[in-house]
Structures are given as C-alpha cells and as structure tokens.
Amino acid sequence: MSNCSETLQRLYEYIDRELSDEEQAEVQRHLDDCPPCRDRFTFEENVLRQVRRCCRDVSAPPSLVEKVRRICNQ
C-alpha cells in the first residue's frame, strides 16, 4: 500500500480525476485505511466545492444574453 506522503502528493490529481484508474484505486485504498489522510482529502474537496458553488451561482444577465443572441444570429 502507498504511504501517506505518496498519497498526499497525488491529492489534487485524485480530486481532479486525472490519475489512471489504477492510481485512482491505489489512492482510494489508502484513504479507506487512513482516517487522517481521508480527513485531509475531504477538507480539500470541501474548500474547492465551496469555491465552485459560490462562483457557479452567477448567470449572464438577460440583456447580455439578448445582445449575444443577436451577435450569433447575424
């Protein structure tokens, strides 16, 4: 099994789903057995989730949509 240091080095690639299936599973196995690493990963994910939620809560104003629609229909 990989150790904590190796696992933490893959933290973001794991969260971003950028690892191979095999590597992803290896990190997952470590997290299943290591509560401190699991807490760390959960915390990191929560920070990013909060950023995503806050930023995605924005839509283009209707007046802009209308202007762009006109541009697209030219």
Binding site: N3, C4, S5, L8, Q9, L11, Y12, E13, D16, E18, C34, P36, C37, F43, E44, N46, V47, L48, Q50, V51, R52, C54, C55, R56, D57, V58, S59, A60, P61, L64, V65, K67, V68, R69, I71, C72, N73, Q74
Partner: protein, 214 residues
C-alpha cells in the same frame, strides 16, 4: 464535447466548402451551441475582470471574435474550450491592457494581508484557531469571492477553469497555451494560497510529506 461538435464529427470531410467556410447549416449549429455557454463564460469573466460591466464587454467581445474566426474552428473538437481560449486571449490582449490591471505576482502577498484583514472585519475570526472546517463553514460567498479576486490573474484563471468550470488539465493547457506541468504547478500553488486565505492561516503550509503520518 458539445452536442453539435459530436454530431458533426462523423461528417468532417463535408464541413468546409470550397471558399473555406463552413456551410451555413454548420455555422448555424455552431452559433446556437456557442450561445449555450454564455453563463459559463460570463461567470468566469466576472471573476476575471472583477466587474460585471467589464465582464459583459468581455463576453460580447469573445462572441464577436469567435464568429469572425468560426471557420477556423474544427467541428468535432471542443467548442466550449475554444470559446474560453478566445476569451482568455481577449482578456490578456485587450482588457488588461486597457485597464492596466496589475499582473505582477509579487503583489499577491500584499493582497493576502488585505483579504485577511477583510475576513476579520467581516466577523470571521481565523486567529481563534478553531478547526479549519468550522472556519470554512462560517465563510460567506463574499469571503470566497474576496479571496478568489485577490489572487493574481494567472492563479485565479486556473482555479476558475479547473474548479469552477471543470476543465481537464489538458484542456486548460490548450486554453492558456502553457505546458501541462505548468497547469499542475500553478493550480497547486493557487489552491494552497486560496485555502490559506479562506482558513485565515497565513503561515506557509507544511510541504507535503513533512506532516505525513504513517
């Protein structure tokens, strides 16, 4: 990949007419698909320009440029990523030049202290050393936006593309025209900085491994 891009892939040889233009039907499909990404482009533009009115200008400029060069878009490739690339270039070449926004990363530290003070003013008290999760839970959207907007353009950009828009590293590398390794290191540094801002801890985080527990 967008719906139209996907549908068009199998018909690729027919996509460009003799004058080098997509047939009108293809153009129309692309224009309609492009319109579906307006919210995505706008929310990124708002965070990049830090200003809703400038964001509207940037999004319009992006669509004008995209339609001018639509014939250079290869159907079957990622239209959304292509639009983001155009917007990124428009931001760097036009907007930032016009508004003389600082792009100097050395400002980051100064800005960090500003946001830290701002967080304390707003009632969040990171120095109380409560669990990080508690601090995180007490943050408002305004805190998150302030922290994000205090990052340098380069840092903010990768966070928005990866964490808000969900682009893959490879796509971000193409959008920003930088190597994939640079995407990863920039993303890593941006997230660490953002996390320190949000949890109020200005002490440099321990490098990975030093706090490892085995």
């Amino acid at each position: 990949m967008g719906l139209v891009g996907g549908l068009l892939k199998s018909k690729e040889p027919d996509l460009v007419t003799e004058n080098g233009r997509h047939p009108d039907s293809v153009r129309q499909c692309l224009q309609q698909e492009a319109l579906t990404y307006i919210d995505s482009l706008y929310r990124t533009a708002v965070r990049m320009t830090r200003n809703p009115s400038d964001a509207e200008d940037l999004v319009q400029e992006t669509y004008l440029r995209a339609l001018r060069s639509l014939d250079r878009f290869k159907p079957g490739t990622n239209l959304r990523a292509w639009l983001f690339k155009i917007m990124t270039n428009a931001f760097i070449n036009e907007y930032r030049k016009r508004t003389r926004q600082p792009r100097n990363q050395s400002l980051d530290n100064v800005e960090e202290y500003y946001v830290y003070a701002h967080l304390i003013d707003s009632g969040v008290q990171p120095e109380s050393r409560g669990p990080e999760e508690e601090v995180l839970a007490s943050l408002t959207d305004a805190n998150v936006v302030a922290a994000l907007e205090s990052l340098s353009d380069e840092f903010r950009q990768v966070v928005l593309l990866a964490d808000v828009e969900g682009f893959a590293y490879r796509e971000i590398a193409d959008i920003l025209d930088i190597p994939i390794g640079t995407v990863m290191s920039r993303l890593h540094r941006s997230r660490r900085r953002l996390q320190r801002l949000l949890t109020g801890s200005l002490v440099e985080a321990q490098p990975y491994g030093d706090s490892a527990h085995e």
